[in-house]
């Protein structure tokens, strides 16, 4: 291992976030993320798990600065992301959302969107192949694809930016079992082929166990467990982790 690989791809350093939430007619500040620190070494797949409402999505959205922490730092290969150009940060940290979010136009318009922002050439067929879609789809309207194909296209679109890191927020929740299974396999292959660092939010433990090398578990915005995936699935360190794996945990983590 050379010295470069010792710098984690992503490092969270005491990250907290409060944000105003609508309760009745007025806004109340709620703690969404509380003092979370962990790191993801380059080339690993981290599964971000926890009950719904535990802050997983918000945590992801802070890594490509769709939202900002209230305190703490997030480092990308050692540099604080708040000091980076936000658009360059987002090129390097790709994001795929829960339901495929299509940009207007054809499949090719979607895939070349990122590179064309910077005037870079891009061959859309190449990325379709990379995610296992037929290159012929390139001239089809994006909305004419099946949901599973759309989600693959969204992954291809993110990859066309040549990111170092890919954030996936429950990428399979809109898909049926087979399509979901295929997307998980695809993510695993991309990680191996491209050495891509992946952070994936998922509520399907079977998927997390299948691909994750590391696990971070959030409950109520607090990091409860963090470590190697194999260790976690063999036996979580905490009582809450045990109960979560058995499916006994309710939304507020009690």
């Amino acid at each position: 291992m050379d010295s470069m690989t010792c710098v984690p791809a992503i490092e969270l350093n005491r990250v907290s976030m409060t944000k105003p939430v609508l309760l009745g007619n007025s806004l109340t500040e709620l703690d969404i993320i509380r003092d979370v620190s962990f790191s993801v070494p380059e080339g690993e797949i981290l599964a971000l798990i926890g009950p719904s409402g535990s802050g997983k999505s918000t945590l992801m959205r802070m890594i490509n600065r769709m939202e900002d922490p209230t305190s703490g730092q997030i480092l990308l290969f050692g540099s604080d992301i708040s000091g980076l150009d936000v658009r360059e940060l987002r090129r390097r940290v790709g994001m795929v959302s829960q339901t495929p979010a299509l940009l207007p136009g054809k499949v090719s318009d979607n895939i070349v969107y990122g590179p064309s922002l910077r005037g870079e050439p891009c061959n859309p067929e190449e990325y379709l192949e990379l995610v296992g879609l037929e290159p012929e789809l390139v001239s089809r309207p994006a909305s004419s694809l099946s949901v599973g194909q759309q989600q693959r296209m969204c992954i291809a679109r993110a990859l066309a930016n040549r990111p170092n890191i890919l954030l996936l927020d429950e990428p399979t929740s809109a898909l049926d079992r087979t399509a979901a299974r295929n997307i998980i396999e695809l993510i695993c292959n991309l990680n191996r082929q491209l050495g891509l660092t992946v952070i994936i939010v998922t509520h399907v433990m079977e998927h997390a166990q299948a691909i994750a090398t590391r696990v971070a578990m959030l409950v109520g915005g607090v990091l409860i467990e963090e470590g190697a995936a194999a260790d976690f699935f063999e036996g979580p360190k905490t009582q809450i982790g045990h109960r979560f794996l058995k499916g006994e945990l309710t939304e507020d983590g009690r």
Binding site: S26, M66, D68, R90, T99, L103, P104, Y113
Partner: protein, 278 residues
């Protein structure tokens, strides 16, 4: 123009006109609409407001000083901006500046062109021309600005996923919002374009009818109306465009993020107000 070429309305005539309110009042009572009170208040307000405005304008016309005219324009612009903000459904914080800048830009460019180049009014501040023309321009600018900002707010809320997908790929806010911008600008321009289609056929515009009553020949009046329609279209376009770009600066953060105010609505105003106090 001969000042006696039209019929003056005397105080007695005004009182007689009150009979009209008696007609609508009678219908309201007969059909139990319970609108009598509102009608009475409305009548009194219309009388008071219009007489006051008439008095102020008379002073302005008689004085014919450039600084009074400029002051009147400034007040009219401020009221228009205030109204544009009041008509927004979401949070209002920061929008007054946007409205003010947009309306002032669109209105002043058009007003300068109409007064200076098309009509060549001498001296340029002659209230008889400047005030009514500015009034028409400002009214339309206000509608355009209010429409475009309201629509942009709802388009961004509606297209949230698409906008964030574009942002996440590295698009700047302006580009991520381009579809929403296009829809909003179209919505703001449509009323003006529609009125250009039907003018003269479905309705006779107020200014043209007013000119004809005061003795202007219809052929002259329509020339004015053509200039007015075209200037309104230009003023609306410039204002809507400026307001849309200004509103982008409010609906997005400087870091190309969608502002949380979009989903938090009016409660956002009280929240930011409290926050600035601490």
């Amino acid at each position: 123009m001969d000042a006696n070429s039209y019929i003056h309305i005397s105080n007695m005539d005004l009182l007689i006109a009150l009979l009209f309110i008696a007609i609508s009042g009678a219908i309201s009572r007969w059909q139990k609409l319970e609108l009598e009170r509102d009608m009475a208040v409305g009548t009194i307000r219309a009388f008071a407001q219009l007489l006051a405005v008439g008095f102020v304008l008379q002073q302005l016309f008689d004085a014919a000083r450039w600084y009074w005219v400029v002051l009147a324009l400034a007040i009219m612009t401020t009221v228009a901006a205030h109204n544009g903000v009041r008509r927004q459904t979401g949070a209002k914080q920061g929008l007054f500046t946007v409205m003010m800048a947009a309306i002032a830009t669109g209105a002043s460019i058009t007003l300068i062109l109409v007064i200076g180049v098309v009509l060549r009014v001498r001296p340029w501040y002659m209230p008889q021309y400047v005030i009514p023309i500015a009034g028409m321009i400002l009214g339309n600018c206000m509608n355009g600005a209010a429409l475009v900002v309201n629509r942009l707010h709802s388009e961004l809320t509606l297209r949230r996923n698409q906008v964030e997908a574009a942002l996440a790929l590295g698009a700047p806010a302006k580009q991520a919002a381009s579809e929403a911008m296009r829809e909003s600008l179209r919505a703001a321009m449509m009323p003006t374009i529609n009125s250009m289609m039907t003018v003269g056929l479905v309705h006779l515009p107020g200014m043209m009818t007013g000119q004809m009553i005061s003795g202007t020949s219809p052929l002259d009046a329509v020339r004015y109306q053509i200039v007015v329609m075209l200037m309104i279209a230009a003023a609306t376009a410039v204002t809507a465009m400026t307001a849309a770009f200004g509103a982008l600066g409010v609906f997005f953060t400087p870091f190309h993020q969608l502002s949380p105010r979009l989903e938090l609505g009016e409660a956002w105003d009280a929240y930011t107000h409290d926050k600035s106090k601490h």
